[in-house]
Amino acid sequence: MSRLQVNLLGVSMKNPVIAASGTFGFGEEYRAFFDPGLLGGISSKGLTLHGSKGNGGVRVWETPAGMLNSIGLENPGVAHFIERELPLMRRIPSALLCNMGGHSLEDYEQGAAMLDKADIDILELNISCPNVKAGGMAFGMEPATAADVVRRVRALCHHPLLVKLSPNAPDLIAVARAVEEAGADGLSLTNTFLGMAIDVDRRRAVFDNVYAGLSGPAILPLALRMVHQVCKAVTIPVVGLGGIATWRDALCFLMAGATAVQMGTAGFADPLAMPRAIEGLEKYCEEQGLQNILEIRGIV
């Protein structure tokens, strides 16, 4: 068994590095730079039942060591995904996470029911998108609403269920516990932090939606703290993410208790960030004499 091999929610992955939702398309875009099959897993762009054109106006804005985005879940919809993108994505020999969001409880339920029969490895339930007007993050803010949507999806979908949490919840630990109790198999966090930018020359907010989601190295310490806290509060596996750019960053999240990590924004700056991180983790295991990377899981 390889030193980087991990098991996430019953799914065996060749390494603990997963491409984060919304930053890796449906797996093909970075093929010119590296073989996506080298990744432990790939999380699809966030899908919604009927698809969406996403938000108008400026969608991305650089910030110090990070970026704000207001994509607004532009996606082809669940049915289109199952028919068109999924077969291609399935050819990549990495764990396939299907990220799904919704504007209403009915959206989540119908989407989950459709995906139940689809050939995916893990359903990553997105209750944390800050960029859609109706629904999205609203489902992830309070323990009761989060538990409700998770319970309903759980009942309809037999795939391992990873629930993606929002760092913007007033009481993240309470949401994490409620989601665990409602039947989630694992948690992934964090999604983006709600932020804002103002164009002082034009004297107006940069984004049509005014607020947008902050990601990238700037959020790492905040996300790491939250992952550490949540790992201590729940017994199900946690996937850590938020600002990871190097193998050392990835190691921080594993040491904080995560079973796997996801990387997003760093790949925009350096397309090879993920393969480099995997290589770095492999070397680390060798140098430290670890049989498996997860020997250091949760040691902090």
Binding site: E29, F33, V60, P64, A65, A269, P271
Partner: protein, 234 residues
């Protein structure tokens, strides 16, 4: 990673930088990061290939913010991150070619003219270049063209007669592209536009650069930056 061969000022705030390891077709671009490996500034800056010889491309850019400012400070033998070549680029067609450029938007048109001349020496080439202030590199363009006209302070699209049969290619500020599209449509001319959008990935993965077209959203970085004018909703 690419190495700077030369980085010279060609007008106030406008630089021409030549890099190693940057092959490209006309109309393609690179995501350039002035400080390799640094997380600040984080994102690559999309910059068009101005000219390309073998594996060395030059980039014509205007200093407008911190990324281009840092780029302008790089010296020969410094390295920069260059991710690319990206985007679809311009097609080379066996017919006359007319380019319309506004300001720094002239950048991708030079290599297009040069490649067109090499491939179709018998065809006619025309360049209409508009500037609001200082003009730059206009002699380089006229050396490649049968007709070349520079407009300072006016509407460059007013100089172009779109009823003359040719393939028209334009790059520049959105109001200029809009005017070109309107005139080309009125004259029934084939017009290609090279669009700009804020980008994060540059490779089609983030959907940060979507633009509206008659067939739904398209990604400027991957499906473009060059689009037929009649398809885009400007």
């Amino acid at each position: 990673m690419a190495v700077v061969l030369e980085n010279k000022r060609v007008a106030p705030d406008v630089y021409l930088m030549r890099l190693t390891d940057t092959p490209a077709k006309p109309g393609q671009f690179y995501m350039l990061r002035p400080l390799p490996g640094s997380l600040e500034p984080l994102l690559g800056r999309p910059i068009s290939v101005f000219d390309c010889e073998g594996c060395e491309s030059s980039f014509l850019y205007r200093v407008v913010g911190k990324g281009t400012e840092l780029l302008s400070q790089r010296r020969a033998s410094d390295s920069v991150d260059a991710v690319g070549p990206l985007g679809n680029g311009f097609p080379l067609e066996d017919r006359d070619l007319t380019v319309v450029g506004g300001g720094i938007g002239i950048a991708p048109l030079y290599y297009l003219l040069k490649a067109h001349r090499a491939r179709f020496p018998g065809r006619k080439r025309s360049a209409y270049l508009g500037f609001s202030g200082d003009s730059f590199l206009t002699e380089e363009f006229s050396a490649l063209c049968d007709v070349s006209k520079v407009n300072i302070g006016g509407f460059v699209t007013d100089d172009v007669d779109f009823s003359v049969p040719a393939l028209y290619c334009a790059c520049g500020p959105t109001p200029m592209l809009r005017a070109a599209k309107k005139r080309a449509e009125a004259a029934g001319a084939a017009l290609l536009l090279s669009l700009e959008a804020r980008m994060a990935c540059g490779v089609g993965a983030c959907l940060g650069c979507s633009c509206a077209t008659i067939s739904g959203n398209r990604r400027v970085c991957k499906d473009g930056p060059v689009f037929p004018a009649e398809e885009v909703l400007l």
